[in-house]
Symmetry: C2
Subunit: 295 residues, 2 copies
């Protein structure tokens, strides 16, 4: 076994991502020698103790980070400003502070001001997930073959960036660095907009007359079902992502609306060629995905 | 083995649905004593001969239906008017004419006028599919546990309706009858709108700058991927569905747009509660689907 990367890893928040990291850390032994878990409620911490992947649980985030040479924020991004404020002064000099949030500009905006000199802040985003949440939902293979994007601000200590990169590689992920603004645009189209659409269409279906609603459920296999899987995700996490990637998300939604309206107009006016071209494009993208084995 | 339902089944068109029915008919032996397959091109028919699920292939639809006591239209719905015109006068007295199209009002509009007195027209829609098409794509379990909806016009011969229902039950499907207009509205929301959205978002992603486009492919696992599966479907089939369920589809799109814009507005103005409620609704629908085992 390789030397553990960190002496003490403090996980602030223990949902799908946090509890997957904890399970991997426990299993492999080479992420950190000790795992401390913090959560908002004692109930969650009690469950974490039962699940057995933490060496210690701690309800006070300031106490959880004390003495930790790696602190990973795994809460919904909307909680980051308050958490950073609560832990900032308690971070150990030389510690690496990282996170797993899906919006990187907001994280840098919210957390950055509370990072003391001598603490190294390495924002990160493991692009992996399921529709499940909470400490029971994690599993050790969640990050296998998936990407983790690092968005370190200019001037970030390179040794710290490399340690976080290595942590994610040991979790099974492929690692790449990216500008925070670029990250937020890419994620807006590949993840945030699809989720916004999925939530919206569920809402639309739910708004139909009662009889039709039952039929939506009966006949969901014909396409609707694929949208509901991603619509089953955690409401607080998604509320926070939407609010914290507002500009990029609204821009991508606006582009999507133009495209959908273009297709609607072609349908209204019977423009068969336009429709066929648009459908053909969808197939091309799918084929590319299959070629690079992401589908 | 039960008595075959029909003496001769003529399949007009041999894509995913048609070739699945043919495979089931060949395997079970109790759908029809003889299977005749018609397709637009000799190349497809040559492939059908190789695949071995037809007793006879026939490039002329009029000849294909001659002597058949069951004729099933399995082509894209946009081809139905021309096909009905080509076969109408060659249908055997007492024969049952049915179809598998995804839009039922248009099928009744396009096929109905060409059905001679004494021929029984039973429109049907097996709600099953994959993103693959063509005679190679069919398989015998496609309809297992899925619904087939029958939309017989008032006054249709009940014995013929029952024979088509039994044919689909023998294919593994659950069968229900529905008003054609109601069918088209339900399918607009569960299938046609999700496909329209999936094609549109692929188009949107494809329209981004080159660099972002590659990243869409790399990071598709985070939600986008679920949309591309259904966007990989056959362009001609979908063009025809969109054009032939125009009113219901545009209404559902309009409702969806309102919901998406409502969510966008909440994001713009930071209305956290509105967003959470909408996301919560998506989860509820997903849970209902899991309860009735359609997910």
């Amino acid at each position: 076994m390789a030397e553990p990367l960190f002496k003490r890893l403090a996980l602030i928040g223990i949902g799908l991502i946090g509890s997957s990291v904890a399970r991997i850390a426990k299993d492999r032994g080479d992420l950190a020698a000790e795992i401390v878990v913090n959560a908002r409620t004692q109930k969650t911490l009690d469950r974490v103790v039962e699940l057995g992947f933490a060496d210690r649980v701690e309800i006070d985030p300031a106490k959880a980070v004390a003495g930790a040479d790696c602190v990973m924020l795994c809460a919904p991004v909307g909680a980051f400003a308050a958490l950073a404020k609560a832990i900032g002064l308690h971070l150990m000099p030389g510690a690496v502070l990282t996170d797993v949030g899906s919006t990187k500009q907001s994280v840098i905006r919210d957390v950055g001001p509370f990072v003391p000199a001598g603490v190294h802040f390495v924002p990160a985003h493991p692009i992996a997930g399921t529709e499940y949440s909470g400490p029971d939902s994690g599993f050790t293979t969640l990050f296998q073959g998936r990407w983790t994007l690092l968005t370190p601000p200019p001037g970030t200590d390179t040794a710290s960036v490399e340690k976080i990169a290595e942590l994610w590689r040991r979790c099974g992920a492929m690692v790449e660095s990216m500008e925070p603004a670029h990250h937020d645009r890419v994620l807006a189209i590949v993840s945030h907009l699809p989720h916004l659409i999925a939530f919206s269409i569920c809402h639309t279906a739910d708004g139909l007359a009662d009889e039709s609603r039952q039929e939506v459920l009966n006949f969901a296999a014909s396409g609707f079902r694929d949208f509901t899987r991603i619509a089953a995700s955690d409401p607080v996490m998604w509320r926070d992502i939407f609010l914290n990637n507002r500009e990029a998300l609204l821009e991508m939604l606006s582009r999507f609306m133009e495209d959908a309206q273009g297709l609607a107009r072609a349908i209204r006016w019977g423009d068969a060629e336009y429709i066929e071209n648009m459908v053909e494009q969808g197939r091309k993208i799918r084929r590319s995905l299959i070629e690079i084995k992401q589908a």
